[in-house]
Symmetry: D2
Subunit: 303 residues, 4 copies
């Protein structure tokens, strides 16, 4: 009797560090000797096992220091406050560093904004359902009702908030009402409306956006038609944090795909959509695992 | 008033050759001088506009000849039989070539087989719904009931055909009953059962499969765990036509993704799944557009 | 006795179409039914074996038509004038098409311009020496003497033509004296001086340039430092034909490489150099095989 | 007066950590809480600035621990012995860890082995000459005299050591005489002879090899011809450490390049050569910067 393919399938693997609970610690500030030892000793005092540690200094002589540490610990919830206290005394006091400590078993809560295009939205929802994105999708907000049924089939609340005219104040008030206190970050999954600087500020949580990218860039209307006309050989996408300066916030991730003269402008848009969903998914994944640290107008990504 | 992003979106582009109907012509056989002229003159006599033409000869001195032509024509349905007749007289008689002529506005009918994993299945269904795959998905057949509801939400028939023991005869009889006469090709979208040589022969239509690929290859059980242990830096996927020789049929498409030591065996499987769906989608797309010509144990892909 | 690795090495393979001489035919003009048949019948009348044929029409209903055909023929040199004559009568007269016919066994002559950086220059010279670039490198011209000895070690003439001030007329007069009648195209392999519109026109041969590319683009001074500051995740390169509009001519090829926050501006420049040489080499290869057809401000690349 | 391109070129950037001397510290052993703090405190006691720190643990509960730290220090040479002493006391005694400390301003010495193919050899020598590879190329050893002149034009000693018959003892004795005490690692840059297990052991330094890779693998003679016949869509290369088990040592780096049906076996070999040199260069770069840690039959690469 021949073995079936299923019989040959690998057994489910356990992820790293399973067995006890994990937390992430991100640290940033002015680089000075001794930071690594200080962090290490605080964690060590509480019996934490460091699973991974990434560090980057943009200039070891007084530049900016960035560190991401993942550590495991029995009774994590009980001990975390004591670790936080220890870090505050050592890092904040001695080194004037900022730090963030997070229990990785508590997923971050995210709201996804979408419009009519569903390629980025569905890829996020599929991965979330498969347990591949360590987030809770709190809600989907769209200025179009089209994807309502699909979103709700994933068991996720869908809110239709129309927003089409120049005056977005009513829509944005509704956004704030829905989001405030309910989400840790927001993802614009091809949401085709601009968020006002005021909304961005009032929300007070990171916002991740995705947009197409070309070499050279085509600013303004009809970028795909112009890319086609110009005969570019690559189309790409950029995921970035949203700032008041549209499409100019810190870049999280980029990628491109090869095209040819035989691709129509519609083909370019379709290929571009494939890159967009891949790039946005990676950006959301990394952000939700605390792998992305913002610094000025760029990012440190411990991917 | 600032323009919205939506206002800046490109206008819908028309695909190449829209405006009149398109047909594809694939030709193969022993290479000899004059084939191109013969094909061109038959098409020209009927006023066909050649949209694209790809040709390959593995040895111009008597090797094998392959050609794919897409042409447009008013009143295509009416004229196609006359073209077919002309080609038969010229190509089959003078050059002993085989050819296939197909009205591209009539989508090929496909059945998708799946098991529990939904990453390949959903990507195909979703692209189909967006109008990106020029096929009719006639049905989904699975040996597990898990994806029934999701599949049916796309408006596509789902059939649960259990198949777990060594004796697959009952399942395969059911497969034949469902498929015969109803589909032009079959896609195994991570279907984890082996099709018998008998079923493959009786079906008599092309069958496309997807499987993971590594450098070096890991034959047998637990390939991801072994790839992890061996420290490979790439994981990949291969889409191929199914023959009686398991996983060894003509390759249609391959791709890889970069991994690192920090990826667990579960991460490898997840990254591998991303490549699988991308590779299978490309293979299905190309097959459904008559871009893939089989020859011996390899393929000519006019992508 | 164990086999050596050398014993396991593959036997030299013959390239396609070896055995008799090959010629390329490129055709362009307004698309109309019957072109393919006309080309095929002229070639067929002279007993030519078509090795490969690529065709593209940007709109089959009266758009622009592009075709590249490679064919083999015994006694090619003797028969070529008759083929040219036949094509002129059929294509130029009946269809108002332009065409170019070239004996592929006669390599195109190229002059390479360089400055101090040698990464693009050396890659081209080395591939040429290995017989991978079907060109004759007629000369290398540089505004710096640094690479003279290295270039000459490849058996290739090196000319030092200083060009540093605002007045380039003396240098360009020397360029014209060296190049006119001696080369079929020119490659700027990181030549860091701008060619005047006047020189470009007087040369009258295609000129290929390579430059770095970013998403987003950084126009002006210090692009690598600014790309670093902006935190881009990809650096790339673009090879294009030179027109009077600096860095804006038709794109031949592009590629990118992934970078991270840990790469310094110097690292970016080094990674960028790797992409530059790869992209320029591909562009030169394709151009020298008549695979690149210019059309307006873009290219059709039958790669 | 228009600015020249040269005027627009970026100013030379300084690499990270320039200004004072850098050292690398790699640590490995059984993972236990407190290692990071211990390393950090020893470095901190001597005023070292940690420039970068990468860490990986394959299982935080008693798995294997790997760390690479780069740190800067004034008077590095003078202080290094004291640091080494401190680490020995803390790491070796308290944690039973192994560590290696190296002054990064002292380049590692490498011998490159080659045969007739020069693509990998020249790429290494070019990059070395440009200051991109932090090594001293002590010598090139080849079993063919062909590349002697070229190698010596780089100012590097070339030794011709014939090795063709089954009995390699004379050649290997000569290898040992040339290498022993003179090199820190060896690179086989398409050296087409097998090193005996005896030579590998007596050399006692890491040996890096490059070989082609396919999916699926083609073991034995004529891999490119067989890959062509099988219609693979990717060809690749693998760089690995040499062990007595031929082509099976720990993988350092891999990559692939896309090919098509139109590529001949010779094209495949040429494309394969491009990947080989890129992959080998990365492997040598990473090894020479102490970024590669071997563990069992795989590697941890802090790239």
């Amino acid at each position: 009797m021949p073995p079936t393919l299923e019989a040959r399938a690998p057994a489910p693997a356990t992820t790293r560090g399973a067995g006890h609970r994990l937390a992430s610690l991100t640290v940033r500030g002015k680089d000075r000797p001794g930071i690594v030892a200080a962090v290490g000793s605080v964690l060590g005092e509480h019996g934490a096992n460091i699973v991974s540690l990434d560090q980057y200094s943009d200039d070891p002589l007084g530049g900016a220091f960035f560190q991401r540490t993942v550590f495991g610990l029995d009774h994590l919830t009980a001990v975390l406050p004591a670790i936080e206290d220890g870090l505050r005394r050592r890092l904040a006091a001695d080194f004037e560093l900022e730090f963030a400590l997070r229990d990785l078993s508590v997923p971050q809560r995210v709201a996804i904004f979408a419009s009519k295009s569903d390629h980025c939205l569905l890829d996020l929802l599929w991965r979330h359902r498969r347990g591949q994105l360590p987030v809770t999708v709190a809600m989907v907000i769209s200025n179009h009702p089209d994807t309502a049924e699909e979103v709700r089939s994933f068991g996720i609340p869908f809110f239709h908030v129309p927003s089409c005219g120049p005056d977005k104040s009513a829509a944005e008030a509704e956004h704030l009402r829905l989001l405030r206190g309910n989400v840790d970050f927001v993802v614009l999954a091809r949401y085709m409306q601009i968020l006002s600087a005021d909304l961005i500020e009032q929300l007070g949580v990171p916002i991740i956006n995705i947009h197409h990218s070309f070499l050279p860039a085509f600013v303004g209307a009809g970028p795909y038609a112009r890319a086609k006309e110009r005969g570019v050989k690559l189309v790409g996408a950029t995921a970035h944090y949203v700032t008041a300066d549209l499409d100019e916030g810190p870049i999280i991730e980029q990628d491109v795909v090869r095209i040819s003269h035989a691709d129509s402008a519609a083909d370019l848009r379709r290929r571009g959509a494939d890159v967009e969903r891949a790039v946005l998914t990676r950006a959301v994944q990394w952000h939700s695992e605390d792998r992305v640290l913002r610094h000025g107008n760029h990012t440190i990504v411990f991917a």
